[in-house]
């Protein structure tokens, strides 16, 4: 199917054949996994309820909105416009690589699957999650490098221009942006079982460095437009990346701190006192 594209080396002309980069074919291919994931999630939530176990409704809402964000970025008018306009492309990047992963991580899909699945399948899934590759990829530093490093390569090399000519590259990069964003977010604030949990301080340091890498790149893009991107679009896109990144990151930071706050709660006599409501106003 994809071979068809090579007969049209200049993909960014406005002839939108089915398997053109901007055509419907790649859009459907990219949308398919998200649609399937959403159906599986809803089905699993229904199964869990039928079994009489509990599953919070707000998680279903989070996953649905998350999948919706990802779908909006890969199929439909926004996805098409993103080919012509860098600022819109950046909006898609924020939806696909940051907001959708955040919402979906908070929806705890692995926990839901484990509850819905027969025990035998669950063991297999856990085995995969505990495998060495999974352990390596979900280390915060590796996940950050895959996520932020990937973006640096995309926007500071020829890759961004090439992505608009080559369907395979286009598909690969878009899936990578989502997956790297998901694994990165999960490595920081996963509620799901993780292969190995790392220390809060380690996660905090890596998160700050990753966030910095993202913000430095957004100003770099502002100053050095990727090849073929008009200056005004690069400037607007860079600022959107900067402030949009801030807005999403604030939630990741908040969740990480909240998890620390809960894990570090004092135990024993002190905590009993606290729960009895014996707080007194701070005084000097």
């Amino acid at each position: 199917m994809i071979v068809l594209n090579h007969s049209q080396p200049h993909g960014h002309s406005h002839s939108t054949a089915f398997f053109d980069v901007a055509g419907l074919g790649p859009q459907l291919i990219l949308a398919f996994p998200f649609a399937v994931a959403l159906v599986i999630y809803l089905f699993a939530a229904a199964t869990v309820k039928k079994k009489g176990k509990s599953w919070q409704g707000y998680r279903v809402v989070l996953f649905t909105i998350g999948a919706g964000c990802a779908l909006a970025a890969v199929i439909g008018p926004l996805a098409e416009w993103a080919h012509a306009n860098f600022t819109v492309h950046m909006l898609g990047h924020l939806l696909l690589g940051m907001l959708a992963p955040l919402l979906m991580v908070l929806a705890a899909p692995v926990t839901l699957l484990l509850r819905a699945m027969p025990v035998k399948w669950g063991r297999r899934l856990t085995k995969v999650l505990k495998s060495l590759p999974a352990r390596i990829v979900t280390d915060p530093a590796v996940a950050s490098l895959l996520n932020i490093g990937g973006l640096w390569i995309l926007y500071t090399t020829e890759l961004y221009a090439a992505m608009h000519d080559d369907v395979l590259l286009h598909l690969f990069i878009h899936m990578h942006v989502f997956l790297a964003g998901y694994v990165f977010t999960a490595s920081m604030i996963s509620i799901d079982p993780m292969p190995h949990r790392t220390a809060y301080l380690y996660r905090a340091i890596v998160l700050v460095l990753a966030l910095a890498g993202h913000q430095i790149l957004s100003k770099f893009i502002y100053a050095n437009p990727p090849a073929g991107v008009p200056r005004a679009e690069a400037e607007a896109g860079g600022q959107l990346m900067f402030y949009g990144g801030d807005a999403v990151d604030v939630f990741i930071i908040f969740m990480l701190c909240l998890q620390w706050y809960r894990a570090a709660r004092p135990r024993g006599k002190m905590s009993q006192k606290t729960s009895a409501g014996q707080f007194t106003p701070a005084a000097d």
């Binding site: 700050v208 430095i216 600022q239 801030d246 990151d249 930071i253 706050y261 002190m270 701070a282």
Partner: protein
């Protein structure tokens, strides 16, 4: 008598504050640094629009420094407040020490921003006007005043601790 109510360099309401005096310092320091960076972003970038998002004379190291401090300050604001909440539930809040370190953190970042980031790395100027030197002087004087105020409060706390220790 409950061991918790024993007076240790301080108050009956916050019996554990000496044990957590380090956390009081870092909670305040991080929050102060984050808060001043937040004010900088909100007032000077967004409301007044004096600061520019990017200045063509920015050095590469300035871009890196700016990004790192921006990310760190974002984390520090939230992390510092969570640490404060932790101190409260442990009944270990030491307000004078906390405010002292807030001022110190805010002043140090403001001074770093005003001298190194604005003037050496040239990430942007305070305002794009002719007599920017006036703005620089006010900016950095404010930073020094915050640092001095912070040091004063922190020293006062240290002195009161020593006095308590001498008495017991």
């Amino acid at each position: 008598m409950d061991a918790d109510t024993k007076l240790e360099a301080g108050s009956a309401n916050e019996p554990n504050r000496l044990k957590y005096s380090g956390r009081n310092f870092w909670s305040g320091f991080l929050f102060g640094l984050g808060m001043i960076a937040f004010i900088d972003e909100m007032v000077f970038h967004q409301l007044l629009r004096w600061h520019h998002f990017y200045d063509r004379s920015t050095m590469d190291v300035g871009l890196i420094s700016d990004g790192l401090f921006h990310a760190f300050s974002w984390f520090a604001t939230i992390g510092g407040l969570f640490m404060y909440a932790d101190l409260r539930r442990r009944r270990a809040v030491w307000l004078t020490r906390w405010w002292g370190s807030v001022l110190l953190g805010a002043g140090i970042f403001q001074l770093y921003d005003g001298l190194i980031q604005h003037k050496v790395f040239r990430i942007h100027q305070i305002r794009y006007v002719e007599n920017v030197i006036v703005y620089d002087i006010i900016w950095n004087t404010a930073a020094v005043i915050m640092i001095l105020g912070g040091v004063y409060l922190l020293r006062r706390v240290q002195k009161s601790v020593k006095r308590e220790e001498g008495r017991s």
